[in-house]
Subunit: 354 residues, 2 copies
Amino acid sequence: MNKKHNFSAGPCILPQEVFEKSAQAVLDFNGIGLSILEISHRSKDFVPVMDEARAIVKRLLNLNDDYEVLYLGGGASLQFLMVPFNLMKQENGKAAYLDTGTWASNAIKEAKRLGTVHVVGSSKAENYSFIPKDYKVGSEYDYFHCTSNNTIYGTQMKTFPDVDTLMVCDMSSDIFSRQLDFSKFDVIYAGAQKNMGPAGVTMVVVKKEILGKTGRDIPSYLDYSLHIAKESMFNTPPVFPVYASLLTLQHLENNGGIAEAEKRNEAKAKLLYDEIDSNPMFETFCKKEDRSLMNVPFKITDESKKEEFDNAWKAAGINGLNGHRSLGGYRASLYNALPIESVQVLVDVMKSIK
Amino acid sequence: MNKKHNFSAGPCILPQEVFEKSAQAVLDFNGIGLSILEISHRSKDFVPVMDEARAIVKRLLNLNDDYEVLYLGGGASLQFLMVPFNLMKQENGKAAYLDTGTWASNAIKEAKRLGTVHVVGSSKAENYSFIPKDYKVGSEYDYFHCTSNNTIYGTQMKTFPDVDTLMVCDMSSDIFSRQLDFSKFDVIYAGAQKNMGPAGVTMVVVKKEILGKTGRDIPSYLDYSLHIAKESMFNTPPVFPVYASLLTLQHLENNGGIAEAEKRNEAKAKLLYDEIDSNPMFETFCKKEDRSLMNVPFKITDESKKEEFDNAWKAAGINGLNGHRSLGGYRASLYNALPIESVQVLVDVMKSIK
C-alpha cells in the first residue's frame, strides 16, 4: 500500500493503527468469531466499547463526573438544533452567538427557530478573516455559543471569553488538538470526523446540572437528558464509528494525550506558516493572531505558477490540498494524525516553486 | 476464524463478502492508497459511492424517479420525528397510526408533539400478539403510519391497507426481505442495521411530490427537501456505514435481488416454524397468520429444560438467541444474510431437547 500525505479537511487522516485495528474488527472482533458490524449494540462485546469511549473522553479532557459524554448520530448540524432545544427557554428564550464562519452561521440559523438570537460579534463583513474579540455576554442570555475553529477560513479562537451564562462550543475541528480548561464549558460538541474518528458519529459533552430548565417539550432524539439516562444507547448507536473513535482516542492517550498532541500540532503549524510567511509565492487569508493550528487555507500569489504547483504537490503524493469552494486556493489541514514529515513534503514542494 | 451462527436481532449478520470488502476498504479504498475512513465525502472516490447507494435502492425496490433516496444519521428513532415534521400540517395536523409494538408506539409518541394522532388500530392490550386489520383511514388524515415488521413481538404485516392519504412505513426490520409494491408507499424508512448494512445510517425513500405542503417551519437537518436538494450530502454523511450498505445491496442484487431473497427467507422461516409447531417443547408468542419471516420469538414450554437448551445452542456455535428483555424466552432472527444451514443447526438443537 502506497500511503499518501493526506491533508484532507475532513473526514481526514487517522492513525494507521486505527485503520489496521478497525479493519481487523470488521473481520473478527476481539477474536469472538463475529464482525463488529454484526453484533448487538447491547451485547457484552460492545457495551464495554461504548462505556470506555465515554470514559476516555472525560480522562483526556480532564472533566469530572459533573459531565456526561454522548455519542450521537446526525452530525454537528443536528447539534445546531439540539443545543437550543435543550438550553433555550421556551418563554422569551434568548441566546448569544459568535459568528466566525459558515458553521457558526448555520448554528445561528437553527437557533433562531426556537428563540431570539443576538449575534454578539461577527467577522462576516470581512469574509471571516478574524475572530471578533470585543464583546460581552451577560446573564440575560440563556447561553453563549461559539465555534472554536473555523475549517473554511482557517481561524481559531485562542482564548475564550468569560461569560455570565452557559458556555457552549462547537469544537468539531480542533477537539483533542490543544490543551484548554474544558471545565469552562457547559456543552462541547464535535463531529468525530477530524481528530476523533471517522464520519458518522458526533460526540457531545454535557454538564448535567444545566439540563431540564427550559420548560420546553423536547422530542426524544433531541433530548440530552434522555440520551444520558440511556447511557448513549437510547437507540442503536453508530457502532463502527464509535469503535473507531475509541481506537483513535486510545492512540492519543497512549501517545502523551492532548499535551503531546498540542506540541506536535504547534510544530507542524509553525513549519508551514513559517514557509508561507517567508515565501512570497504564498499567503494566507486571515489575521496572523487568529491563525488556526488545524486548517491552513492559503493562496498562490502568482497564478501563472498554479499549474506547476498543482503538478508538484500531486507528484509528491499529497492528497486533499484543494481549497474550500467558498474561498478557493489551497487548504492544508494538519489534524492530530498528520505526521510532520507530510508537512515537510509540502513545504519542500512550496520551496521548489520559483 | 471460527464463524458463528448469528441469530442476532440487529445489528445482525451481513454477507461475509461485505465484511471482507469493507475491511479491505478500511485499509486501502479501491487501491487509492487511502482508507475509506480518511477521504473527503465530497471526493471523487466517495461521491460515486453515495450516488450508487441511492440508485441501487430504487432498482431493488422497483421505484421510478418520482422517488428520492436519502442516507441519514440518527436512526429510525429520528425518523419518528422527521415524518411528522415533514408531513403533518402546521394547522390542525392529524395523522393515523397503527400501533403494533414498541417501535410503532415510540413513533406515535413523537408524532403527538406536532399534532393530533389517531391510533386506528392497536394490539397493545393483547401484548402485541397480532396485527390489527379492521380499520379504515380516510382523507381527513395527513398521513397513515405503520410498522411493517415488529422485531420484539415477531409479527409482520402481510398486506397493507388501501388508505385515502399518504402511506408511511417503518420497514427497518424487513426492508429488502420480500417483494412488495413499494410504489404504494409515499415514505419508507429503515435503520440499516438489519438487512441493509451496519448500524449508523438510516435509509429514507420519499416520493418528492408530497413534500412542502404542511406550512410548517422545518429545522434544516429534519427537512427531507433539503437533504434531497443536497443529494444526501447536506452535511458529512456516515461514510463507512453508507459504503458497507452499498456492498450489502450489491450482494443482494448479484444474488437474484429481493425475489430470490424472499424465497430463501420463506424456506428458512418454514424450517423453523415447522419445528416449533411440531415440537411440544417450544411455542411462539403470536398469532400464526401474523408470524414474521424475519424474527421468531419463541419460548420453551418446560422451564426445567432451559439450561439444557441454552447449553446446547451455545455449544453449537449459535449467537444472539436470547429473547428481548420485554418478552423473555428466545428470538431467532432470520435476516437475509443468515444461511439456511444456520437455521438447520438451531432446529437440530431443538430436536435434541426431550
